[in-house]
Amino acid sequence: MSLWVDKYRPTSLGKLDYHKEQASQLKNMVQCGDFPHLLVYGPSGAGKKTRIMCLLRELYGAGVEKLRIEHQTITAPSKKKIEINTIASNYHLEVNPSDAGNSDRVIIQELIKTVAQSQQIQSSTQREFKVVLLTEVDRLTKDAQHALRRTMEKYMSTCRLILCCNSTSKVIGPIRSRCLAIRVPLPSSEEVCSVLSTVCKKEGLLLPAELAKRISEKSGRNLRKALLMCEACRVQQYPFSADQDIPETDWEVYLRETANAIVSQQSPQRLLEVRGRLYELLTHCIPAEIIMKGLVTELLGNCDGQLKAEVTHMAAHYEHRLQLGSKAIYHLEAFTARFMALYKRFMEDGLDAMMF
């Protein structure tokens, strides 16, 4: 527990640093000891999990922080054995069903059923329900999501679900409608800065305000990233200086270079190089959507106003196809090629206009 991210993570709803209003609402909600199914969503690094754990602590007390990892083996109807790790306390169970890949439906069905079907023995001292926390719900297959629908209603008396995901767009409507949706937005830049300075103060360090600002910008207000960056800065050079360079994640650097390569030359050969780089990103476990998004963000910086709209439209189109297909590289490359063609035409037009 020595990373700042872990060390200074708030553990109760009252201690949360930002979105305090939401925190108090959550507190009110669990005041009576019960709550509906929740769907917590928001970008990564906004503090969804922190909030959920605070909520659980509010509900069950400190016992919820005594966690253990369990390896469970579930046998699918097809006799296939699926192994999955769950993190459980006495009061709740956390599972990431998408770890099981295509068999996530079985996980959902079996695991939740076993949890939900076991009644609490002593309901006077404990809550009469357990909580199942499902993470990365947006990566569930449609099958699994459909399996979830009925389970949610059927075992309402013994089990509450908290679903955690980045975006609700991939969660099917029926599930969304069964849950109370809670959006955890990213903290504002100021909030990030204040958190950073608080942490540094606790560490006995002095953080210049400019550096905090720069870190929060560079991290894209992702608080986890900001804290890690801050700590990396500290490791790099202690007496902080306002203009010291902030370590970045490698993949972002790599993506930026890729975007630059696309802009600097448009030819099949270059496309081939870019393909290699895209493959490299994909093999480093960077999700294709994030690559696409990063690429568009980087490329848009090089585009004119009118072109921007076109490129964004294209990106949306190919992102959609990306979701439909399974081979991300085709779609990423198709977007790249399309952009190259567009950009090249744009540049040539511009050149012509300049000449005449």
């Binding site: 872990d6 754990m53 990233k225």
Partner: protein, 972 residues
């Protein structure tokens, strides 16, 4: 006039070239030649029957037909009657005598002109137009030609001038008005030509060219086909009529009719492939050399099977007639030579059974002699007990095996893929076939086992076959001495007898893994391609026999199309024949969809085809292929690629190969339009296959071969492309799996409180990269003892972090002998990208320090954990290092030790017994001594040592000399 040719089964090129003249000739001939056969007997009948009154006759005719239940025929019969009446209408009286010959002729004539509308008879013309026309139409409808038949009439009725009499030559149509006036409308050729004209005018220039055959040609063909159908239908009707006539007119012509019936039945029920399959050795189409080899091999068995002495060489009579195949000898020689080479190498590889190693450059005949003249084994069997024929389908392997076996005097027993080939059954069947003999019935010949399609048999079955081959007879020596005929009798007694019958195995793929052991023990014969010329010749014979018109060029094209697959060629011919096509031309063969095999050409070949423009094929005489390519090149190419792609079936791999290679092609589009389009196609195929797999909707599969076609049109070039095997996807997959594995390894041992906060994605996106920065602080290269408080704090933080994220340094040795510390699990690779500046690394010394400190911290943690757990109990020492031993603190070390010693040394007082077991009374003296008060030496020593604080024992090892309890926390 095709129908003539068909009728007389005469057809050759001459016919085609001089079609016009022949037409006229045939027209003239018509009246005399064909019906004479029939007319003679009919004339005889005429005399006897014509005088009988009509009603009776019609009655007797109608009855059998009704019993057949063919209303169609019924109506036709009525027509026939009408016709007869019509013919008789000049002398108006219905009973008027008329020569049957004329009637028949008239019938022929009418029906051949494609008009079957019955002319009304004068006496019942009121009913006829309504009554008679309908059944005919209905009858035609059954065969689906109703409207087709109409069209020529409509055309003609427009423009023809009406004739009062039937025109002497050419087609005509009779029309009767309500009053019964009959006129004849002449059918002229130019009219029909005009009807087709507009379609011919349509130029092919603006067509998209997506069809394999231009639309005009298709139309033409349609017209032709219609015409032919009508003609055929009429012919059929005529035949039926004739048969009816025959039926009525008695048994005289039985012989002829039966023959015809037979032929008809044969045509309808039998496949031509069977019908025309070779019956004799000389009729075989396959390569002579192969045939001869197999026959020779089979003859080697003669001695053991038939008890015949082996002749020095096979009799010359068994050789195929050379004159027939002289044209192909040269080619055949080449093929068989290469085949012989292959055989040689495999023999060399297997066991070197034959000493051919030094005869590499012998001619093929010599090599074959070597193989076939090799000594028989002790049972007088050939060296190779099994012949293994291999080759692509449709070359006549099975036929060859059957014919040769029959030729050599065997009774053929066949096992093929349609039989159950599980191990037990296979065993049973082999035993039955090789050891039994039919005693009843005509075929009292020894069996020859033919195992067809052995490449599909399970490995167990093949092992059984091998076991059968290698079976050793217990009485090998004496049975070897016996003659083969005696053996025959003898072998029945024993269950496990040696194999004494030839076995011929047939397979398509010689290199199926299951066949590997068999390959080494078998006489391998590879089937070369059939000579197209020979095949075409046979096809020509067949088509001539069946009355199809096809020239050599067409048949050659067919051969080429089917890759010289005999079966496929003949089946195609029959199919066309069955559909009523009597004339084959090159174009129709080219555009045909049938007869195409699912060629399984290699993927590389496929990619090559896609990325390369077709080369101009060398022109063959009498072939219009060239023209076709120029004319509808695009369409041809589209069809070609489409067919290739769909026959390969490996769409995934195919698409992947296209993806990996298309950017390497010489793409000439500066605007990248083609590339974009290609990638869109790829995206399309991806989403297609995804939809297919998710929804199990495999009807979408048919769209998968289109992306290759698109690629062909986008990127095909005349250059020979350099194709690389598509490995990128697989590489990416393995790499991804590797990085996922290392992430999972890292996550697996992270404590739960941290594990809940991090997932694989957040790890790879946010945490890991920065974490690796964080665990590389600047450490002073000094002993950690000399660190300042702040530095110590930093170090302990670092170690905490590493432990909680399950990272550690492990000493490793590089290939060049250097020791390095590597981060374990190897997550560095997950965040490290090529081309980026390498991450700052700690020095070896710093890593060593960290590693050591971490080790200590771990121990410390484990210790505290233990203490926490055992708090309630008495403190118990832990076994930590090898030098410190666990000792309970309650009892002093040395005391414990001493007690042991004392226990061991305490003298046991046992009553002494003498040799016989009697107790011996001891002498009193020593006891007296002890009783005096001085303790015995050992007792005294024990207590003395036990009472002192320090003790020493000689010769017991240094480390054990002084002992003290030490705790880990004191060491660290």
């Amino acid at each position: 006039m095709d129908e003539y040719d068909e009728m007389f089964r005469t057809e050759d090129d001459y016919d085609q070239q001089f079609a016009d003249e022949l037409e006229v000739l045939a027209e003239m001939e018509f009246d005399t030649a064909p019906p004479t056969k029939r007319s003679e007997f009919r004339k005889q009948k005429d005399d006897s029957f014509q005088k009988a009154d009509r009603p009776f006759k019609s009655q007797s005719q109608a009855e059998p037909v009704r019993s057949l239940g063919q209303s169609e025929v019924m109506s036709e019969m009525c027509d026939r009657e009408d016709l007869e009446q019509l013919m008789a209408d000049e002398p108006i009286t219905p009973q008027a005598k008329r020569s049957r010959q004329d009637v028949a002729k008239k019938l022929f004539h009418v029906s051949q002109d494609g008009d079957i509308t019955p002319p009304s008879s004068p006496e019942e013309f009121h009913q006829l137009p309504s009554n008679r026309a309908q059944p005919v139409l209905a009858a035609l409808d059954l065969s689906g030609f109703a409207d087709i038949q109409e069209s020529p009439r409509r055309v003609t009725s427009k423009k023809c001038c009406a004739l009062k009499r039937p025109p002497p030559e050419g087609g005509y149509i009779s029309v009767t008005d309500q009053r019964g006036n009959r006129v004849y409308l002449r059918e002229t050729d130019d009219l029909r030509g005009k009807a087709v004209d507009p379609s011919a005018l349509r130029s092919s220039h603006n067509a998209l060219g997506l069809l394999a055959v231009p639309i005009e040609v298709l139309r033409e063909q349609m017209e032709e086909r219609r015409h032919r159908q009508v003609v055929e239908e009429s012919q059929r009707l005529t035949e039926i009529l004739n048969s009816q006539v025959d039926e009525v007119f008695g048994e005289l012509d039985d012989g002829i009719r039966e023959e015809e019936d037979d032929k008809e039945k044969g045509e309808s029920s039998r496949l031509w492939v069977d019908q025309f399959s070779p019956r004799h050795y000389t009729e075989l189409l396959s390569d002579d050399f192969t045939n001869r080899c197999l026959l020779k091999w089979l003859k080697l068995w003669d001695e053991v099977v038939f008890g015949r002495e082996r002749k020095p060489r096979p009799p010359p009579a068994e050789r195929p007639i050379p004159s027939k195949n002289s044209a192909n000898q040269g080619q055949g020689r080449f093929n068989s030579f290469s085949q012989g080479q292959g055989r040689f190498s495999s023999a060399n590889r297997s066991q070197g059974n034959f000493n051919q190693a030094n005869q590499k450059f012998k001619t093929k005949s010599q090599i074959t002699e070597e193989i076939l003249e090799a000594d028989l084994d002790q049972y007088k069997r050939p060296k190779y007990k099994v012949a293994l024929l291999s080759g692509p389908p449709g070359l006549g392997k099975t036929t060859l095996a059957h014919i040769i076996a029959k030729h050599a005097g065997y009774n053929v027993v066949e096992i093929n893929a349609s039989d159950d080939r599980s191990a037990e059954l296979f065993q049973k069947r082999i035993d039955t076939a090789t050891q039994m003999k039919s005693v009843l019935g005509a075929n009292e010949k020894p069996n020859c086992l033919i195992i067809d399609e052995i490449d599909g048999a399970p490995a167990a079955a093949i092992n059984i076959l091998l076991a059968t081959l290698n079976r050793k007879d217990g009485h090998g020596a004496d049975s070897g001495a016996e003659s083969g005929a005696e053996l025959l009798k003898k072998k029945k007694k024993k269950k496990e007898s040696v194999l004494l019958r030839p076995i011929i195995c047939i397979c398509n793929d010689l290199y199926v893994p299951a066949l590997r052991p068999l390959r080494q023990q078998a006489f391998l014969l590879n089937f070369p391609q059939t000579q197209p010329a020979r095949l075409a010749q046979r096809l020509a014979e067949i088509s001539r026999a069946q009355g199809m018109k096809a020239d050599t060029g067409t048949l050659m094209a067919l051969c080429e199309k089917t890759d010289n697959d005999i079966r496929s060629c003949i089946n195609t011919l029959q199919f066309l024949h069955g559909r009523g096509q009597r004339q084959l031309d090159v174009r129709s063969v080219q555009s045909m969809k049938i007869g195409l095999k699912d060629q399984n050409k290699g993927l590389f070949h496929l990619w090559q085809e896609i990325f390369q423009l077709p080369r101009i094929k060398r022109k063959r005489v009498g072939e219009e292929l060239e023209e076709g390519l120029k004319e509808g090149g695009g369409a041809q190419r589209l069809q070609h690629i489409l067919h290739l792609a769909s026959s390969s079936g490996e769409y995934d791999k195919l698409t992947q190969g296209l993806y990996d290679n298309f950017l390497l092609m010489r793409v000439k589009d500066p605007s990248l339009g083609g590339v974009c389009e290609a990638l869109d196609w790829l995206g399309f195929s991806d989403s297609l296959s995804q939809t297919m797999l998710q929804g199990q909707n495999f009807s979408l599969m048919r769209y998968l071969p289109f992306p290759p076609v698109a690629f062909h049109f986008l990127f095909a070039h005349t250059h020979v492309p350099r194709i690389n095997y598509p490995s990128s996807q697989y590489e990416a997959l393995t790499k991804t799996a590797a990085s996922r594995n290392s992430l999972a390894a890292m996550l697996s041992d992270v404590p739960a409180c941290i594990r809940t906060r991090i997932s694989e994605i957040s790890l790879s996106l946010d945490i890991l990269s920065l974490l690796l920065d964080i665990i590389c602080p600047k450490l002073r290269p000094v002993n950690p003892q000399l660190f300042s408080a702040r530095e110590k704090q930093q170090l302990s933080d670092l170690i905490n972090t590493m432990i909680s994220y399950n990272l550690s340094y492990r000493q490793d040795r590089t290939v060049d002998g250097q020791y390095v510390y590597v981060l374990e699990p190897r997550v560095e690779a997950v965040v490290c990208y090529p081309g980026l500046p390498p991450r700052r690394q700690l020095t070896y010394q710093a890593k060593q320090t960290i590693s050591r400190e971490m080790e200590q911290e771990r121990l410390r943690r484990a210790d505290t954990l233990m203490l926490l757990r055992n708090q309630h109990r008495e403190e118990q020492p832990k076994v930590v290092t090898s030098s410190v031993k666990a000792v309970t603190s309650s009892v002093k070390n040395h005391q414990q030790r001493l007690e042991n010693i004392l226990r061991n040394t305490v003298v046991e007082i046992r009553p002494e017994v003498d040799f016989f077991g009697r107790v011996v009374a001891r002498k009193e003296k020593p006891r007296m001594l002890s009783a005096t008060g001085e303790l015995c030496v050992e007792d005294a020593m024990g207590t003395a040592v036990g009472n002192s604080d320090v003790w020493f024992r000689f010769n017991e090892g240094v480390s054990n000399a002084v002992r003290r309890n030490v705790y880990i926390r004191e060491l660290l």
